[in-house]
Symmetry: C2
């Protein structure tokens, strides 16, 4: 696992082009409704249209859970892994966690006033979105490191939870947690009903994902694998121990880091993998290389009307890191992975629709 940067690379072009769409950095903390969690009924995957993608999921579950099937898998080996941003919820105009980090800057500076006139914090505080968008990558890393470390693990959890209960996506004016894809919530339920243990394997922060995964997806903290920094154990003056989040990278859970992280945290090969970008390629390849029936699914964002269209759906290579490139599309087709068309395969995208 390469330890080159404190957090996964965020594409600067995407940041530049979308910064203008963002709401002001300060967030109004009005009371928020709970994330939508509609119960499914009348078939296992009601938000999916009939087609190759839905059928691939159903066929896989049957093949691995029917005792008479040559591809039967004992329940304790049934592991399914899911990328998070862009696979389970909206990743445009920017990864939710990056918006969180930018929003955290005023609080971080309030606690460390010496940062007020220091870059890049000064620029972020100015609220000048064009200037923020021009910040070089190393400055963005400084913001990620400053806003995701230095506090106890409990403080971080409380801060992130508070933000997630208030911050809203500019396009839908909905909580980010409401932008989970309803068809994927149904896949979770369907797999779990068939004894699959479901894991998130995200390039985003592991601790950040653990704050919302249980409520939004029914996935407990120990089943969220993500880019992880170290913690440091120490004693307070009253002798009570605490853990502080450190600006030190332990696991960069992207690209080859995904199968490496799966080995570290799970210790065995998944039978099913869902992704949407080049960052998920190795996880899909690692899953595919196992014996027996394996489910390999790639979500294509081709629905500009209901969500977004990018990657091969635009007919152009997209240089944004983490995007579903035409090369990945070709690999999927060549190897028989299933591409999910958001436009054609999903009857409904969000629970609130």
């Amino acid at each position: 696992m390469k330890a080159t940067a404190p957090f996964p690379v965020i594409n600067r072009r995407a940041l530049l082009s979308t910064m203008a769409l963002l709401p002001a950095l300060s967030v109004a903390f009005f009371p928020a409704s709970a994330p939508a969690q509609t119960a499914t009924s009348g078939g296992s995957l009601p938000s999916w249209n009939d087609g190759a993608a839905k059928q691939a999921i159903i066929d896989f579950v049957r093949a691995t859970s029917d005792r008479s099937s040559p591809s039967y898998v004992v329940p304790e080996d049934r592991i399914a892994v899911f990328d998070q941003d862009g696979t389970l919820w909206v990743e445009h105009p920017m990864y939710t966690q990056v918006i969180y980090c930018l929003d955290r800057v005023p609080d971080v500076v309030a606690k460390k006033p010496e940062l007020k006139n220091r870059e890049p914090f000064k620029t972020v505080l100015s609220g000048n979105r064009e200037a923020i968008a021009r910040l070089p990558m190393q400055d963005l890393y400084k913001i990620l490191a400053a806003t995701l470390s230095g506090m106890t693990v409990e403080e971080f959890n409380a801060e992130a939870k508070k933000w997630l209960e208030a911050a809203r996506h500019p396009r839908w004016n909905r909580l980010y947690t409401e932008l989970a894809y309803q068809p994927m919530l149904e896949v979770f339920r369907y797999l779990r009903d068939n004894a699959y243990k479901t894991y998130i394997v995200t390039g985003g922060g592991q601790d950040f994902g653990r704050v919302y995964a249980e409520k939004v997806y029914g996935i407990p903290p120990e089943q969220v694998i993500g880019t992880a920094g170290g913690t440091k154990f120490a004693y307070a003056s009253d002798g009570k121990p605490y853990l502080t989040k450190e600006p030190k990278l332990l696991l960069n859970d992207n690209n080859a880091g995904k199968p490496e992280g799966i080995h570290l945290m799970i210790g065995r090969r998944p039978y099913a993998a869902f992704g949407n970008s080049t960052g998920d390629r190795q996880m899909l390849e690692w899953t595919a290389a196992g014996a027996g029936a394996r489910l390999k699914m790639l979500l294509l964002h081709d629905d500009a009307a209901r969500e977004y269209a990018y990657g091969p759906a635009q007919g152009l290579p997209d240089t944004r890191v983490g995007t579903f490139t035409p090369a990945l599309y070709d690999e999927a087709k060549k190897n028989g992975w299933t591409v999910i068309s958001m436009k054609n395969d999903w009857r409904r995208i969000f629970a609130f629709e």
Copy 2:
């Protein structure tokens, strides 16, 4: 998590004093019987004598699982963690994994003949136990690194499994996996019957523990946390991906590394912790510092007749790394942790008795 040495420190004194007791390094691969897994009946903890230790476990389970209790814990938060060597199975005369590594040397040298005349491999191959016992620590690290890395994860699992099915403890002439403590197997079952998720948190190798934990303790690979090295994802000439174990430390799961590892792998604080040595101190402190009822248990090896007596039971400080020192004994008494006396609290130690 400190990255000072590739593997947890092994005490040289213990190694020196016990090397003479070891069987010859080469292991005869005769067919082995399955590890004993006797079903419990007639009470939850039949191998425990009535007393404070047994009562502490029962009281804790009642306090956290009875809905009317002020200390009630929702099932999804019920996490229990267990040290492995010396808490769940015999750790004398030497950690089982160290014996494994020494036994692996001939095979490693067969694959890399250039090591044959190089130290420390030459000495290990000589079979001269006194000379092996005199090897300095850095040479032991070389042996650990050479025998626990450089192969694919599947190759490692197959090798370790084969060894565990054949190697025997010199005192009992039993498989190492048969030396699991029957009273602790009953604690696992009792906790799991009450919705607790049970984890091993070992200073030993994570991958090594995962090879036997499911069969011996009913603990799946993803619930074994241990000292972990990195892996490297790569492609074979046929394009098939594989993961190689690297001689690079990611998590030194000892001392402060135990709560740090628990945060990394579980993401929340346990309600129950079992240990037997100073390496478990911070894990016990971290567990104890949570609100509500918390179970803190330390196993004292005070039974030279049926197992071993060391640590405070000898009335002498023991400098072996990982041992239950008198200072830890004092901390336990001061903070109300429960000390389990192997001699007095356990009616039976092994399933084969």
